[in-house]
């Protein structure tokens, strides 16, 4: 009962914390925000993202002098899918500007991701709810210029940054001692699409797009987890111009990963949110793959699952 009771109290305290803080509070005292003009070539924008160690950036349309949503890995997935459907359009892809990404979305028939946004002085709780509703993993903070009433992207908040802010500032995370297997939503075993190292990377990219997931686990013939292909890996693939080699295996595609990649996080059903939050506090954890004693893949816990549980679980 004690653990049950502490879990409820801990979750309640974290909820109150999220309701009492604003997105503005998460922002450092000074920070940089990189914005890309939509008339940039997609290829150039990729170079800028990689050079600045970022995987997403707000877009600025200098015709309308307004913000035009966020550039994310999904856009590069769409470009690869477009090239796969229309290989003769190689030149068009090479000359594609950020303005043209919406046409690519229409051409491959994928629904345009509506970028939800929120005012910086709304509560963190509301920002989390909006992100979960829009299935987005990041949300632009939008205010307006006091004089011209033009919108300003103040920053872009990610689920990871919010959970890290909670892990750093909420000591009640230490009270979350219930094992994952007993947590509804986190311990629930999901039907996950997997692949092997020999699977052509284009098939994995199709899975990322059609399942709207940000990673596909790679297992061996006994079902043991051996690696993961993530949506952000696409940037390195496109940067290397390797997207044209469509029967490239996912094992080979992963060789493009930067040397400083920190590795894939795994856990078991006996782990707890207290130690998961402590790991988020210390390292860049983007998801956790649940494995059994033999290392076989059981399920996955995403940051959305953790936020969902914190906001609506128990």
């Amino acid at each position: 009962e004690q653990i049950e009771h502490d879990q409820k109290i801990g979750i309640k305290a974290i909820r109150l914390f999220l309701q009492s803080k604003t997105s503005y509070d998460v922002l450092p005292v000074s920070y940089r925000l990189i914005v890309l003009d939509t008339s940039l070539l997609v290829k150039k924008s990729l170079t800028i993202l990689l050079q600045n160690n970022i995987v997403s950036a707000p877009l600025w349309n200098n015709q309308t002098s307004r913000f035009a949503g966020l550039l994310t890995a999904s856009d590069f997935i769409n470009v690869i899918q477009y090239y796969f459907q229309f290989p003769e359009k190689f030149e068009f892809v090479e000359q594609l500007t950020l303005d043209g990404l919406r046409d690519v979305e229409r051409a491959i028939g994928c629904d345009q991701i509506e970028t939800a946004s929120i005012h910086p002085f709304k509560s963190l709780y509301e920002a989390c709810v909006k992100m979960l509703e829009s299935k987005a993993r990041r949300i632009p903070l939008i205010d307006e210029d006091e004089k011209t009433h033009r919108e300003i992207v103040v920053s872009v908040l990610t689920q990871y940054r919010i959970l890290k802010f909670v892990a750093l500032n909420c000591k009640e995370t230490k009270m979350l001692l219930k094992p994952i297997k007993d947590l509804k939503g986190l311990g629930t075993i999901k039907d996950i699409s997997t692949c092997t190292l020999q699977t052509p990377v284009i098939e994995v990219i199709h899975l990322l797009a059609h399942k709207s997931v940000s990673s596909v686990p790679i297992v061996d013939d006994q079902g043991k987890l051996i690696n993961v292909y993530e949506a952000v890996d696409i940037l390195a693939l496109v940067k290397g111009g390797m997207y044209t080699d469509l029967d490239l295996s996912v094992g080979d595609a992963l060789l493009r990963r930067p040397e400083d990649f920190e590795g894939v996080h795994t856990c078991t059903m006996n782990d707890r949110l207290s130690t998961i939050m402590d790991t988020i506090r210390k390292s860049r954890l983007h998801r956790l793959f649940i494995v059994d004693d033999e290392g076989k893949l059981v399920s996955v816990i995403t940051l959305s699952d953790i936020l969902n549980y914190i906001l609506f679980g128990e």
Partner: protein, 170 residues
């Protein structure tokens, strides 16, 4: 830490060096050998204030006035004591229909500084908004420092256009 034991771990086979060794073993003479990792060293972006010029000061000023003219900007007649400062006013076209009282004349100050003999710097500074009636409404007089939320993007955009006009001309 007093946290309970945890079985959270990093999957060893997902570390790039181990994955690479694994792939080489899997198919030694294959493609794997010449697929290189994305470089992690980020070429440090070098920032400088304004733009540099080694031309003669009068040439620089001439280039700037020519560029402003090509871009349809207006400027105040320079005063004797501020020959190296240009007070610009620029109609900021923005496609979307903003509210009628939205100021759309951006003011900018462009000033030439000498860093050392024949090394000059052109600095660009935002200088407030005006409505097209031309009278700076006193509410805009409010000192920029008090403004709590200000979008630099229109200013950055016009500065970009001016710098590109200068780059293309030169």
């Amino acid at each position: 830490s007093q946290l309970p034991t945890s079985t959270i771990a990093i999957l060893p086979s997902s570390l790039p060096s181990i994955h690479r060794a694994f792939m080489m073993e899997l198919n030694p003479n294959q493609l794997s050998s010449n697929i290189n990792p994305t470089p992690t060293k980020k070429s440090k972006t070098r920032w400088h204030f304004g733009i540099r010029s080694r031309s003669y000061p009068l040439d620089v000023m001439g280039e700037i006035y020519r560029a402003l003219k090509n871009l349809g900007a207006e400027w105040a007649k320079p005063t004797e004591e501020e020959l190296w400062t240009i007070r610009v006013r620029w109609k900021y076209e923005s496609g979307d229909a903003m509210q009628e009282n939205t100021p759309n004349l951006m003011k900018m100050q462009i000033q030439l500084f000498q860093l050392e003999p024949n090394n000059y710097l052109v600095d660009f500074k935002f200088d407030g908004w005006e409505t097209s009636t031309g009278t700076p409404q006193d509410s805009f007089k409010q000192d920029l420092d008090e403004v709590g939320s200000f979008s630099a993007y229109p200013f950055l955009h016009l500065a970009t256009r001016l710098i590109m006009e200068l780059a293309v001309n030169s």
